[in-house]
């Protein structure tokens, strides 16, 4: 005896990538855009940081769905694990409930100006994207980036870049610690 729901569940569990098809990428992408939009408009900074974290998680899932598993997990580790936590720390250390003298969460161009510039940039980008001859390119055969190949590339052709990024990260983190340190008055 079989029920249709059981069959659907069986196919879904056997090969979720095939069952979901394009939605395996588009669903997390939708979550990504909703969370990013919410992060931009939230007045409460903690809520904005949590929405940003959700959008980072969704972005990592998009990477994994596109076949770049290593980058996806690096995204989850670095952004969700480190960057989001550092942002929450900064919010907690700086008493975000204080608003500007004008009491507004917006400044600079203001909400309308920012939205207008963002919209103009979006229209320009979409215009190029949808008129490009590359635009209709269909999805090629599934690609994969094995971690061993990434490691060999990093230790081979890209070793200079790897060393440079190591120096940059060390200098940036030591510099950040020095900047944020309390001034010791003699």
């Amino acid at each position: 005896m079989t029920c249709p729901l059981c069959d659907i569940l069986k196919t879904c569990c056997a090969d979720p990538m095939k069952f979901l098809g394009d939605w395996f990428v588009l669903l997390p992408a939708l979550v990504l855009l909703l969370a990013a939009g919410a992060a931009v408009v939230m007045r409460n900074l903690i809520h904005a940081a949590l929405c940003l974290t959700l959008s980072f998680i969704a972005l990592g899932i998009v990477f994994i769905a596109l076949g770049a598993e290593f980058v996806g997990f690096v995204q989850l580790l670095v952004y969700v694990g480190a960057v989001a936590m550092v942002i929450v720390f900064a919010i907690l250390l700086t008493k975000p409930e204080r608003l500007t003298k004008s009491g507004s969460a917006f400044s600079g161009l203001g909400p309308a100006g920012g939205a207008a510039v963002g919209f103009v940039a979006l229209v320009a980008l979409l215009g190029f994207i949808f008129t490009s001859p590359l635009a209709k390119k269909p999805l090629p055969a599934p690609a994969s980036a094995p971690v061993a190949a990434i490691g060999e590339a990093l230790m081979g052709d890209y070793v200079v870049a790897l060393i440079a990024i190591a120096v940059l990260l060390t200098a940036a983190l030591v510099g950040a610690a020095v900047i944020a340190m309390e001034d010791k008055q003699p």
């Binding site: 394009d22 990428v25 588009l26 990504l32 855009l33 992060a39 931009v40 900074l45 940003l52 959008s55 998009v62 990477f63 596109l66 770049a68 290593f70 980058v71 670095v78 952004y79 960057v83 550092v86 942002i87 900064a90 919010i91 700086t94 975000p96 500007t100 507004s104 969460a105 917006f106 400044s107 600079g108 161009l109 100006g113 920012g114 510039v117 963002g118 940039a121 979006l122 979409l126 994207i129 490009s132 635009a135 209709k136 390119k137 999805l139 090629p140 690609a143 980036a145 990434i150 590339a153 870049a161 990024i165 940059l168 990260l169 940036a172 950040a176 610690a177 900047i179 944020a180 309390e182």
Partner: protein
């Protein structure tokens, strides 16, 4: 799914980040906008790698990894500067840090 859908998603993400950077008054929100724009750039790298003729080159993957490392360094320095500014002027609003205006 075609290339343009993923590029459009990335463009929308970039526009959100740009709007946040230009309109929000809080420095931390400006940093969040920058992170969103960097995420859009990373999504473009991975998308073009996925649609490339020769994905075994791994160029897009490696570029995204380096970009993530630079973004992490940028976030650490940015938040250290925000904490320092907060200690000096007791505010994280970008408009309040106007000592150089004269």
């Amino acid at each position: 799914m075609t290339l343009q859908i993923l590029l459009a998603i990335s463009a929308i993400l970039f526009a959100f980040g740009l709007a946040a950077v230009l309109s929000r008054s809080n420095s931390i929100m400006i940093l969040i906008g920058i992170e969103l724009m960097l995420g859009a750039a990373n999504l473009n790298f991975i998308t073009f790698w996925r649609f490339s003729e020769n994905p075994s080159d791994l160029v897009g993957i490696l570029f995204a990894i380096f970009s993530i490392a630079v973004a992490a360094a940028e976030a650490a320095v940015g938040l250290a500067i925000i904490i320092l500014v907060h200690r000096r002027i007791n505010s994280v609003e970008a408009d309040d840090a106007s000592n150089l205006k004269g």
